[in-house]
């Protein structure tokens, strides 16, 4: 594996290997050893064309725990905001000797472009591109699901997961559908028809417009952020109607099976897609998702770059 551009790039075995590696790394870093020498001498660039402090920090911590040198290259305060192109930025990073570029970009496909254009030689990790994909988010979600519902081992065969919210604009949903399906889970997307992607019928999952019909039969529900501004584009009439029809409140949470967990990739819109009491309930695993994010990203960087360091030696 040279790049991680899409969750579709991962076979079941590759995905399980990443999750297993993340579990091992978590075990090691839990025990006082906060830093491993694995990627010493390698350079990881966080290239963020779009603000996302949480994802950027997660990758930064992951790379540093593996002893990589980290360069944060943000659109703001760099030449990017003055209009330097993706290409010129890439050539600059290549000249700096980047071994991996973690890219967040508002344009769908920008990581593919970076990986296939010949502009750089290093590995490319997609940290979220437009409304396309966010594969490490899906990996951390899978890791979280496995830890809670599958004793932290193997795949997710038979697991029932509902993903609720703005599926149309969600890179998290796209990556999760692909990855969870690869791992054997049974995914149901829930949204008003206006926020369902065109052609969803042919996706490898189910879909429904009725959250109440689905909740009693799932092991986990993943709530997606819904921006209130979407109502200006007539995706739904009002925040109130959205949260009444699709929001997760305590009444709906009570419909979930006893063991089911509540997830959210963050940042949450309390009162919109999720009520405060649900967000703060013990069934909600959002804080743990953040921790798992670091471990999964360590695993991804380790598996992409581990071999490269052998060469360097």
């Amino acid at each position: 594996m040279k790049h991680l551009l899409s969750a579709a790039d991962l076979s079941r075995d590759e995905a399980v290997l990443i999750l297993d590696t993340a579990a091992e790394l978590a075990a090691v870093t839990d025990r006082s050893v906060k830093k491993l020498p694995t990627l010493r001498g390698l350079t990881v660039v966080n290239l963020f064309f779009e603000d996302s402090t949480r994802t950027r920090i997660s990758f930064e911590v992951a790379a540093k725990r593996l002893s990589a040198d980290v360069i944060n290259f943000a659109a703001k305060g760099s030449s990017v905001s003055k209009g330097e192109s993706l290409k010129d930025t890439a050539l600059t990073l290549e000249a700096m000797g980047a071994d991996a570029v973690v890219i967040r970009h508002q344009a769908s496909g920008a990581p593919h472009r970076l990986a296939t254009s010949g502009w750089i030689g290093g590995s490319v990790v997609n940290a979220g591109d437009g409304t396309h994909e966010h594969p490490t988010q899906a990996l951390l979600d899978a890791f979280t699901l496995r830890r809670h519902l599958r004793d932290g081992a193997g795949d997710l065969a038979g697991l029932r997961v509902a993903i609720v919210g703005d599926i149309l604009h969600s890179r998290v949903a796209r990556s999760n559908v692909l990855l969870l399906q690869t791992l054997g889970a049974d995914v149901t997307l829930i949204a008003p028809p206006t926020l369902m992607p065109f052609g969803v019928e042919s996706w490898p999952c189910r879909f429904s417009y009725d959250i109440d019909a689905v909740l009693p039969d799932v092991d986990a529900v993943m709530m997606l952020r819904v921006q209130a501004e979407r109502m200006q584009a007539a995706y739904f009439p009002s925040s109130l109607e959205y949260s009444r029809m699709y929001g997760l409140d305590s009444r709906r949470m009570a419909m979930l099976p006893e063991h089911a967990i509540v997830m959210h990739p963050g940042p949450m819109n309390r009162g919109m897609e999720i009520s405060a009491d649900v967000a703060d309930s013990p069934r909600a695993v959002m804080v743990e998702q953040v921790t798992n994010g670091v471990n999964v990203r360590m695993a991804v960087l380790y598996l992409l770059l581990g071999g490269r360091q052998e060469e360097t030696r």
Binding site: S85, L86, K87, S108, G109, R113, T131, H132, E133, R171
Partner: protein
């Protein structure tokens, strides 16, 4: 004036003859080897009337870094064209007699093809006020085709008035059919693939709804309508219905919509970014069938040069459009003639006679008969070549066919009797 002889050439792929040309006109068709004059060897090659493009972006004035009237004319001649219609979306926009005359003069100076400026329908392509269509029609450029191409004349009243107004000088409105609200920020054909790639969709209905409205408007006011770059099976159905009702509508299809499909977008390589977008295989099939049965009248290139930096970027930031002039014949051969969908005579209709008629260009699109203006493309259908952007005469290199082996070659082009291309190179 001395005569020129196209020796041993096969008009429309039929029996070989010598075509004798003098004073820019075909003066004789005689047995091979018997024509007198300066000989151009065309033994066994096929002669077709010079191609006419009703949809070309020459970029001058304003974007001379992408193309000029001269380089675009060179590309056209090398593609077997003897006439191109230069779209109005230049800078300044070709919305006045002054600008269309400037483009027309630049075409005359280049002298390789008839450059027929297309006038903008609305001032600045803004869709607000009608441009001075009459002044452009009366100018030295004798504009007959009007289009806001790149943008749709979406205001129904303006479209109606424009359709009516151009009747006074036998003009035509060429509509870029794209409902703007349905295609805000659109990046590719809307379908299962756009959903998967996370690229905002350009739904077929946004094209079809405008065409449906416009054919009904044309019927209501008894005007002539031309539909640019038809790209969907549904649009074909609407045009077919309109023609069955006797509505005066013509339509064009681009070479790329006859060959390429949306799957190419999965590479996220903006070389495949074009407007209207590449569609599904079913659409390609429907377009080929419609061109074969005459529902679509003409092949038009929508030749759209862009400098490297406008394609060397992420998909969303890239410009829309691809080169077409120097590959159009090859694509037509590959998609239409070889599969038996069009005979050579029918291809001549679609690439020369019909577009000349749509643009009301009296000196173009003639059959290869005595007395016709000697606008002639001589082609070798048995040749083939691997396309390379660097080899093209166009100032830009944004061809989606780079690296592909395409059949056929334009060997000679004669423009009003004068060779503009000989042996595949500019004369």
């Amino acid at each position: 004036m001395s005569a020129t002889v196209l020796r041993g050439v096969r008009p429309y792929g039929e029996d070989p003859v010598d075509i004798v040309i003098a004073d820019g006109v075909i003066v004789d068709l005689v047995a091979p080897g018997s024509g007198d004059g300066e000989v151009i060897d065309a033994d066994g090659l096929i002669a077709l009337p010079g191609f006419v493009d009703v949809h070309t972006h020459l970029r001058e004035p304003g974007r001379e870094d992408a193309e000029t009237v001269r380089t675009g004319s060179q590309a056209a001649a090398l593609g077997g064209f003897t006439c191109v219609h230069a779209m109005a979306n230049t800078s300044p926009v070709a919305d006045t007699a002054g600008v269309v005359e400037q483009v027309w003069r630049l075409g005359q100076e280049a002298g390789l093809v008839d450059v027929r400026p297309v006038g903008a329908v609305t001032v600045g392509l803004e869709g607000q006020r009608m441009a001075e269509l009459g002044a452009m029609a009366e100018s030295a450029a004798r504009v007959r085709m009007f289009s806001d191409d790149g943008k749709c004349v979406h205001d129904a009243v303006l479209m109606r008035r424009a359709l009516e107004y151009v009747k006074a000088f036998d003009g035509v409105v060429a509509q870029h059919a794209q409902e703007p609200r349905l295609t805000e920020n659109a990046q590719m054909n809307e379908g299962e693939l756009s959903g998967r790639l996370g690229l905002a969709g350009w739904p077929a209905v946004a094209e079809e709804a405008i065409i449906a409205r416009d054919v009904l408007l044309a019927q209501h006011v008894g005007s002539r309508l031309h539909v640019c770059h038809v790209s969907t099976a549904g649009s074909v159905e609407v045009v077919r219905w309109a023609k069955s009702k006797g509505i005066n509508v013509t339509a064009e299809v681009t070479p790329h919509h006859l060959l390429l499909t949306e799957e190419l977008v999965a590479t996220y390589d903006p070389i495949y970014k074009v407007n209207p977008p590449l569609r599904r295989a079913e659409d390609v099939e429907a377009l080929r069938a419609a061109l074969a049965d005459g529902t679509i009248d003409a092949i038009a290139t929508d030749h759209a040069p862009h400098p490297r930096e406008d394609k060397d970027c992420e998909w969303a930031a890239a410009a829309m459009g691809m080169l077409g002039l120097e590959t159009a014949f090859s694509i037509a051969l590959d998609t239409m003639v070889r599969p038996g969908l069009l005979s050579w005579r029918e291809l001549a209709q679609r690439m020369s006679a019909a577009p000349a008629r749509i643009g009301r260009v009296a000196t173009q699109g003639h059959d290869l008969v005595v007395g016709a203006v000697a606008n002639i493309a001589v082609v070798d259908p048995s040749a083939s070549r691997v396309v390379s952007g660097a080899d093209l005469a166009s100032k830009s290199s944004n061809t989606p066919y780079a690296g592909m082996e395409l059949p056929g070659r334009v060997v000679h082009t004669l423009f009003a009797g004068t060779p503009t291309v000989r042996d595949g190179a500019l004369a």
